[in-house]
């Protein structure tokens, strides 16, 4: 029987349905894997409480492992410690940029509750300019904000720090 490392590799193939370039491993939502013979228990943590992708991700993990002969596959969800974008892998951040989504900035830059705080400096994933501005704090999904580049004028999603 294969070991846990094999399972991690198999999970690299499970992608976030909203961000198909990122695997669940890149996202940092796999908290642990326990294996005993064919039985596997995967512990995941949601990115946002209401993220609709989580149910699909759980199902895809189950399908991926079942199709490789693991049974039973148990998916456990834990909420604490709460997911943070710091858990996203560097490889994941590079993939996001290549896909046209600005990756999350390191945490210390934001997350202060002040009103009208100075916007984060987010680099445009297209032309790499730092002259960008926020259009909306909420973007196409809960985890993203909408920005526009002042140089190439392209709008883009920013995976906000969380």
């Amino acid at each position: 029987m294969q070991n846990e490392e094999t399972i991690w590799e198999l999970l690299e193939e499970v992608k976030d349905p909203e961000l198909p370039v990122l695997s669940v491993v890149d996202l940092g939502i796999i908290r642990s894997i326990k294996q005993q013979g064919k039985a596997v228990e995967v512990t995941i943590t949601p990115t946002y409480s209401g993220c609709p992708a989580m149910d699909i991700i759980a199902m895809q993990i189950r399908m991926q492992l079942s199709s490789r002969g693991y049974a039973p596959v148990t998916i456990k969800t834990v909420l604490s410690p709460a997911w943070t974008t710091e858990w996203m892998t560097e490889a994941g951040k590079e993939k996001l940029t290549a896909y046209g989504i600005a990756p999350p900035n390191p945490k210390q830059q934001v997350c202060t509750p002040e009103y009208f705080q100075q916007e984060e400096v987010v680099q445009c994933p297209h032309c790499k300019s730092h002259r960008t501005h926020r259009i909306s704090e909420f973007g196409s999904t809960a985890c993203k904000a909408l920005y526009q580049c002042d140089d190439c004028l392209e709008p883009f999603d920013y995976f906000k720090c969380h």
Partner: protein
């Protein structure tokens, strides 16, 4: 602590539902997306609290059975789940604050309510992170990160509208006048909240009042708005006594599950 979880779930679900009524109707595309995202966060938080409430119910069924008498709920024979709690209870079995069930009103009304509630949730969840109940603490830790964004977003809108045009200022004042009488309930603990305080699960919400008020005042000062003089406080929601708005909301929210029991996507 079934009722405590249920109370927080009901607040999140109903406000999430009210906000979702803006989807496709927001004042502009960006804000339509923003309010819908906030709705999604709240409904996600509601799910976490309902799942935990259902777990507690199933663990100790005899203790909680008498609390919910709706005929539809009585049909659930075996293990209760989150959906049963959201869809099969009648209005008088909801424990939400009255503030969240009121009709969505205009944009100023929605923003002002969101600001009041988000500030309250920010205090609540900050304290609950240290709750002696590990699962409640975990849900709070997760939710707080989202709520911090909600406070900032709604606070900025309070300032923008209050300090905006004559029309936006007038609407903000009207929203505040309508909503203020419902804010007092946030800080008056229900019996099950008092019990939770004794058990170290919850900090008495009354202790948030001052800090909550200071934060409202700070935003209002920037917005050129004033806090109304204290008057009559509307309450009863946490005990299941509601305004007429809740019945209409539930009729829409629960319609499908009540008409086609057990149906799924």
């Amino acid at each position: 602590m079934f009722l405590l979880s249920l109370q927080m779930a009901d607040d999140a679900l109903l406000l999430g539902h009210r906000n979702s009524e803006w989807t496709g109707h927001g004042p502009n595309l960006e804000q339509d997306i923003a309010i819908s995202n906030i709705a999604l966060d709240l409904i996600g938080q509601a799910r976490n609290f309902y799942q935990y409430a259902a777990f507690q119910f199933n663990e100790n069924r005899t203790a909680y059975e008498g609390l919910i008498n709706s005929p539809a709920f009585q049909q659930v024979a075996e293990n209760l789940d989150e959906d049963d709690l959201a869809y099969l209870r009648d209005a008088n079995e909801f424990r939400n604050h009255l503030l969240v069930e009121l009709n969505k009103g205009d944009w100023a009304f929605t923003i002002t309510r969101q600001f009041f509630i988000s500030l309250y949730q920010q205090h609540l969840y900050s304290d609950l992170q240290k709750s002696s109940d590990r699962q409640i603490a975990a849900i709070a830790e997760k939710s707080l990160k989202e709520v911090n964004y909600h406070v900032r977003w709604s606070g900025e809108w309070v300032i923008r509208l209050g300090d905006g045009t004559e029309e936006s200022h007038r609407r903000m004042r009207s929203a505040i006048d309508q909503l203020w009488q419902y804010t007092g309930e946030l800080f008056i603990p229900a019996d099950y909240q008092e019990k939770a305080v004794q058990l170290g699960i919850l900090v008495n919400p009354g202790t948030y009042r001052e800090s909550w008020m200071a934060k409202v005042r700070a935003a209002f000062d920037q917005a050129g708005l004033v806090i109304p003089e204290s008057g009559w406080t509307q309450k009863g929601g946490k005990q299941g006594i509601h305004t007429e708005h809740l019945g209409y909301l539930l009729a829409e929210l629960q319609y499908l599950q009540r008409s086609y029991p057990g149906s799924s996507w």
